[in-house]
Amino acid sequence: MQVTLKILRYNPEKDARPHWESYRLEAEPMDRVLDLLHQVKWEQDGTLAFRKSCGHGICGSDAMMINGVNRLACKTLVKDLGTDVITVEPIRGLPVEKDLVVDMEPFFDAYRAVKPWLINDQPPPERERLQSPEERAVFDEGTKCILCAACTTSCPVFWVNGTYLGPSAIVQAHRFIFDSRDRGAAERFPALGSTGGGWRCRTAYNCTEACPREIPVTQLIEEVKRAIMFGQM
């Protein structure tokens, strides 16, 4: 089948602002959008810039806005888009460096701000810190995050706010706050309870719809809000 791939291109050395460019391609229904991007880069225009690494939905490199929704290019099949005109734009709210490549540093700043590691000041036990399957299940969803930024850059508050940590960082915080072995809630509170923290979430649910790992992002954020509110952290 013939498809038209429209890509929002931007070259900081030449363009004043991003512009659309169209490419006609021969595609199979089972092709991924990533395959189409490769086809353009390899056969039509080698200057096209985008990120990819594993190509199998695990590394989280190729989140982009495809037909108006944030998805991973490597997990989106042409047939699932249901149209022969496919638009691809960089994810929003982060500075575009070139074409589909954005500066992820603000995203990782927010990630680091919630201290996404185990904090426990007690002396280590002789063997491992034990945890029951029930205790492990409480934070299971958050462990699936691949830091692709599809959720954070789908959030209308993140686009305009400038200080909001964003859904992904709060999901990462949830993963540790609700871990029975972790004792760092008080250390994470300054970031999460501040004006740029959990309270900026206005439950627009774009994050939950966008997550390629099907994490119930909004639900986890609401659990963090309640933990702050009811003094569990």
Binding site: V69, P156, T203, Y205, N206, E209, T218
Partner: protein, 119 residues
Amino acid sequence: MYRGREGQWAFYLHRISGIAIILFLALHVTEISSSMFGPKWFNALLKFEENPIFGLGLVGVAALVLYHALNGLRIILMDFTSWGVKLQRQLWYAVWVVYVILGFPMLFIMLKHVFVGGA
């Protein structure tokens, strides 16, 4: 335009209706406080506001208040219960069902008041 689903539109509409309500409130307070200049001015202002344009504006504000109130209940359920978030989409449709049930009699009463008159 980002192609978000129900939650995104619920959020945008909540924001827009919230801003419209606060603007109306500012206007309303200004109007009422004009009574401190005496009955002459206040009555003249009220007379001016009998124009159906203001009546229709009020119908619009009431429509936004009703949405903001009902979606506000939806947000409370999402914030304070463990199940609200999982049912957010259904809750939004429920908001619109209640909106129509409460809104239609309200619309009828208000339009009658604007165009026919009487309390």
